[in-house]
Symmetry: C2
C-alpha cells in the first residue's frame, strides 16, 4: 500500500502498527522517527526487527516516506507537527493514534493555520496498560475498533486509504466527528480511568496507615487494572479533553450522591433497581464488545 | 473432620465449599438446607453430585449435623438464625460466609440475645460475579483469603476447627475483629462495587440515547466487571455495612473534586503525581495479591 511508513513514537501502539503492517506486507519499509532521548527505545525496536531503520532527524526520516503515523502522547503533538512542517509532503498521508481528537486538531491548526487536507485524525481503541515496544504485538488491532475522524476539508481519498490500512491489519473502522469521538471516549475511557486512579490512590494512602490491599479480591484487581496505565499519557489525555471530562465528573458525583441517599434511607428497592439496571447495561455492553464488527 | 456438614444457600459460595470439602474427604456427608422456592436449585446441586441430600425442613437437616455454614445473602441471616434456633446444637460448629460481619453478628444477637459461643463469623474473599451452584468449583478457595472474626465469647476451639476446615481446602486464614473486617472490606470491595454499578448505570442511560458502549475498550470491560454482580446480594451488603460505606463515598467525592480542580487549573504536575502514586499503589497491591500466604 505504501513505499515507506514512518512511525513517530515506537511504543506499544506504534510498535504494534509496525509489526502488523510488516506481517501483512503492506509497506516496503517501516521506519521510526524520535527524539535523541528516545534513541535507546528506537534501537530496541530495530534489534527486535519491528522497524527497518530509525532516525532522530526529520529530513532523513521523511525522505521517501509516503505515510506517517504519530503515536506519541497527545501533549507532544504540536511539537511534532512543527518538526514535520518543513518536510510536509502533499502526496503523503499523515495520521495519528491519539486518544483525544479535538486537541490533536487544535495542535495541527496552531502549526499550520488550517489542518492539512492529507492529515487524517484517528484513534485505535486497543488496550494500552502495558507500554513499550517490547509489548508490541502484530495482532493488537485484530477485531478492535479504530475511529477515524475526518474534518470537512480532509481529502476523502486519504481518509479511505488510511481506513484501508487499518482494515487490512484486522481492525473494524468507524467514522465520526472529532466532537462525537471526544464525547464518547470521555465517558467510556477517560472518566473510568480517573475513577480508577482516584480510588486506588485513596486506598493506597489508607493502606500505608493500616494494610487493606492484602484483603482485596479478584474483583478489585480487575476494577483497578486501568490505574496501572501510563501517568504521562493520561495526564495528557485528561488535560486535552477536560471540557468533556469535567461535566462527566460532576454527573458522576450526582450519581454517587443518589447512592448515598438510598443508603441513608435504607431504600433496598431503589438499590436493587439501580444495581439491576447496571447489570443489564453491562450485559448489553458485553454483547457489543464481543462482536465489534 | 465432621460427620455431616450442612450448607444453607447452595450457590457459588456454598456449592464450592461443598465440592472442596468432598474433594478433600473432610466430611462423611454434605447436605443442603433451603427454602421451598430454592428446591429446584438444591435439586440441581444433588444431580451435580455437589451434596448428598437436600432438605427444606430444618429439623431433618440438623439431625446428625455437626457443622453448619450459612452462605445466603446477608439480609436473610436473621430469618435463618430464627429457623435454626429450635435445633441449635451446642456440640456443633456454626459459621457463615457473609461479606459483612457486623450485620451478621447483629442478626444473631437479635435472635439469641447473646451470640452463641459456637457460632464463628467468617468471610471467604473469593470472586462471586458468577452465581449459582453450576458455577461452583472445588478450587475456588485455593490460595484465597478467608477472614475469621471471632467475638470475645467465641469458643476458641470452634474458631480453630473452622479455620482448619478452610485451610484444608486451600485457603489462607486471617483473624481480625468484626469492626476491622467491615472497615477494610468497605474500602476494598463495597465502595468499588458501588462505583462500578454507578458508572455502568450512568453510561447505560447515555448509551440508550446514543450508542457509546460500542466504542468502549478492554479496560472498560475489566473495570466494569463487578457491575455484573448479583443485585440482591449487593443490596444486602450495602445496607448491612452502610455505616462504613457512606463515609467512604463522601471521601471519594472529595477525592474526585480534587481531580476536577487539577483539570480546571491545568495542573499537569499534580495530575502526573496523583496518577503515578496510584500506579505505584496498584503495583504494591499486585505484589500482595499474587502471594496471599
Amino acid at each position: 500500500m505504501f513505499k515507506r511508513l514512518c512511525i513517530i513514537g515506537i511504543g506499544l501502539i506504534g510498535g504494534s502498527i509496525a509489526k502488523a503492517v510488516r506481517a501483512e506486507g503492506l509497506c516496503q519499509q517501516v521506519v521510526a522517527l524520535g527524539r535523541e532521548k528516545n534513541l535507546p527505545n528506537m534501537q530496541r525496536a530495530l534489534e527486535l526487527g519491528v522497524v527497518d531503520a530509525v532516525y532522530t532527524d526529520a529530513a532523513q526520516a521523511m525522505a521517501g516516506t509516503d505515510c506517517v503515523i504519530i503515536c506519541t502522547p497527545v501533549g507532544s503533538m504540536q511539537a511534532i507537527f512543527a518538526q514535520l512542517k518543513p518536510y510536509w509532503n502533499p502526496q503523503a498521508i499523515y495520521s495519528d493514534a491519539g486518544s483525544t481528537k479535538g486537541s490533536v486538531v487544535e495542535a495541527a491548526r496552531a502549526v499550520f493555520g488550517e489542518v492539512p487536507s492529507n492529515f487524517v485524525p484517528a484513534h485505535p481503541i486497543a488496550g494500552a496498560e502495558r507500554s513499550g515496544v517490547e509489548a508490541a504485538m502484530a495482532d493488537l488491532y485484530r477485531n478492535r475498533r479504530v475511529i477515524v475522524t475526518p474534518l470537512p476539508n480532509t481529502d476523502p481519498q486519504a481518509a479511505d486509504k488510511l481506513s484501508e490500512l487499518w482494515q487490512r491489519i484486522g481492525a473494524s473502522v468507524s467514522v465520526m466527528t472529532v466532537e462525537h469521538h471526544d464525547t464518547v471516549l470521555a465517558a467510556t475511557s477517560h472518566l473510568p480511568h480517573i475513577l480508577a486512579f482516584a480510588l486506588v490512590g485513596m486506598l493506597g494512602r489508607k493502606d500505608e496507615q493500616r494494610e487493606i490491599f492484602k484483603y482485596a479480591a479478584g474483583g478489585f484487581k480487575d476494577f483497578s487494572r486501568i490505574a496501572s496505565s501510563d501517568p504521562t499519557m493520561w495526564q495528557d489525555i485528561c488535560l486535552a479533553n477536560k471540557q468533556e471530562i469535567i461535566p462527566l465528573i460532576q454527573q458522576f458525583q450526582t450519581e454517587l450522591g443518589q447512592f448515598e441517599r438510598m443508603l441513608q434511607a435504607d431504600d433496598a428497592q431503589a438499590l436493587f433497581d439501580a444495581f439491576s439496571y447496571a447489570k443489564q447495561a453491562r450485559q448489553r455492553f458485553l454483547e457489543t464488545f464481543d462482536d465489534p464488527t
